[in-house]
């Protein structure tokens, strides 16, 4: 190790420390912004110090890449709608995977004949792994992005032979991996590896339905980190290993939280496309009671405590600002307003929290499911906005239901439940909801934003 290398590696230690500190500060909303800044400083240090590397002799290509990528990234970050965050994170997961794949490829194509012959099996195995994980992340994320942004149908695409195709893929990966490591000069194996990775990511994601997307995004987030770690192992770059693993761990923890919130194993989510759909259980009997927005207002005016349960429908209707306005009016009226956020509400972890934060709802009024369920009886009114499965009592009551066993926000235990919905149909997951038929439930049909706006207007007329 010469002097410059020592300096670079010391700077990497500093950068890693800053990343860790940045993540630590992310554990509270008050310090999170500072944490993000500190993490960015770590990144700047790592990049700048790497440019001192003696291997780097020309800068024009680097500048070109950074300018193009940086400009696109900055534009995307400034212009993205908060409702579209899941798509953006998916897309970025994909870019991360693609960057690792290309880095793996570049590392291989940059090796001299001598280097190719002297490199250890460890190098080739990690390179192969980089290309594989990077490729799966990329194509999987593109599919997830397509489904989330509505460019593709969000339905699970299932066809006969899907299971066989996947098994075939896995076998082919092992075979190609063996030849890749033993015969690295032959670029055929490299191309096979890239093709296999891309097509595996495609099939694995296309067979997963839209409601399971939060799990998929979190998992792909994890993969993008693992791909960076693999690239770090292949090139002996410690900062890539450490940082990639932080991301990998983060994605894995979120994946686990999402799975628990749906009472399903990761395997069940990933392989759901391979199993037969569950037969509809018992028929729900009962009557739906419909309430007008005006009558809803009279109830709310008298309420002492209100709980709002938002779901993806709130994001679709862009109703969060109207909800915030209603909250202020209710609070002026002497009513307390809380929000209950289920872990899988929305299309990605924490999506609802960001939307409500955008509408100026203070984060300390947002509660998790386990915080509100024990005191559900105390709420005069629960307003369910664009959520369905996360408040579905079938998860507790109906053994035959596909969501049986999933922990839900027990809205039906409150004194009154308002369900704001476009129509009385089943939700995204296509599961019937007995909540709609409960004695204390009133359906307020129509566009959620319109409904809330008319309630807000009623307050104004008062």
């Amino acid at each position: 190790m010469n002097d410059i290398e020592t300096i670079i590696n010391l700077a990497y230690v500093v950068a890693a420390a800053l990343f860790i500190l940045g993540l630590k500060l992310l554990s509270h909303p008050d310090s999170a912004k500072r944490g993000n800044f500190i993490s960015a400083v770590g990144m700047l240090i790592a990049v700048v110090v790497t440019l001192l590397d003696q291997q780097i002799i020309t800068y024009q290509w680097i500048v070109l890449g950074v300018v193009i990528g940086g400009a696109f990234g900055a534009w995307k970050a400034k212009s993205v709608e908060m409702t579209a965050m899941p798509e953006m994170v998916s897309l970025f997961n994909g870019f991360g995977g693609a960057a690792s794949l290309l880095l793996g490829w570049a590392t291989l194509s940059g090796m001299s004949m001598v280097a190719l012959q002297t490199a250890t099996a460890f190098t080739y195995i990690t390179l192969f792994f980089t290309i594989l994980v990077g490729g799966v992340t990329f194509s999987g994320s593109v599919v997830a992005w397509g489904k989330l942004s509505g460019k593709m149908s969000s339905k699970a695409v299932i066809f006969t032979g899907l299971r066989e195709l996947s098994v075939l893929h896995l076998i082919a990966m092992v075979v190609v991996g063996y030849f890749f490591a033993t015969d690295p000069q032959n670029t055929l194996w490299l191309y096979c590896a890239i093709a296999l990775a891309l097509s595996f990511g495609l099939w694995a994601t296309i067979s997963i339905g839209g409601a399971d997307m939060p799990v998929v995004i979190a998992l792909l987030n994890s993969y993008s980190g693992v791909a960076a770690t693999a690239a770090g192992l292949a090139t002996g770059n410690t900062i890539l290993i450490v940082t990639g693993l932080l991301v990998g761990a983060s994605g894995l923890i979120l994946t686990n939280i999402m799975c628990k919130a749906m009472n399903r194993s990761l395997m069940n989510v990933l392989l759901s496309g391979f199993s037969k759909p569950v037969e509809a259980g018992e028929k729900i009997e009962g009557e739906i009671k419909i309430l007008s927005a005006q009558d809803a207002f009279y109830v709310l005016e008298a309420a002492q405590s209100v709980l709002v349960v938002p779901g993806y429908g709130m994001a679709v209707a862009q109703a969060q600002h109207a909800v915030r306005e209603m909250q202020s009016l209710l609070e002026e009226n002497g009513c307390t307003v809380d929000y209950a956020i289920h872990a899988v509400a929305g299309r990605m972890p924490g999506h609802m929290n960001v939307l409500l934060a955008e509408a100026d709802v203070p984060y300390d009024q947002l509660y998790e499911m386990d915080d509100v369920n024990p005191r559900m009886e105390n709420y005069d009114v629960v307003i369910v906005i664009g959520a369905n499965d996360v408040v579905n009592p079938a998860a507790k009551e109906m053994k035959g239901s596909p969501i049986y066993g999933m922990p839900v926000i027990e809205a039906y235990r409150a004194k009154t439940v308002f369900v704001l919905k476009r129509s009385a149909n089943a939700g995204f997951a296509g599961v019937d909801n007995p909540l709609f038929f409960k004695d204390n439930t009133r359906m307020v049909l129509g566009d959620a934003k319109e409904t809330i706006n008319s309630i807000v207007r009623e307050f104004g007329d008062d």
Partner: protein
């Protein structure tokens, strides 16, 4: 020995990651993911040598593409995370 040393780093960084992220509250999970996007752009560091080194054309092209993609994540990820985190506010204590 080199491999063992790298595996030690993998082990320790993995555990550290789990301990750190477990403490992030649910309300910050979306910024955590976009922040992870930014951090995973660390691939940029690896791609710099491929892009600016004394390499053949293919390696330079691949390296430069990797630099561009990783830069999207770094710049876009940090900016959008900052934008989101600026929105999180506490209730005014009157």
């Amino acid at each position: 020995m080199e491999i063992i040393y790298l595996l030690f780093i993998v082990l320790l960084a993995g555990f550290l990651g789990f301990e750190l992220i477990r403490k992030v509250p649910a309300t910050l999970h979306t910024p955590l993911m976009s922040g992870s996007n930014a951090i995973s752009g660390i691939t940029l560091v690896g791609a710099l040598a491929a892009s600016g080194g004394d390499n053949n054309v293919l390696t330079t092209v691949l390296g430069t593409a990797a630099v561009a993609l990783a830069s999207i994540n770094v710049v876009g990820g940090y900016l959008v995370t900052d934008r989101m985190l600026s929105m999180f506010k506490k209730k005014d204590k009157k």
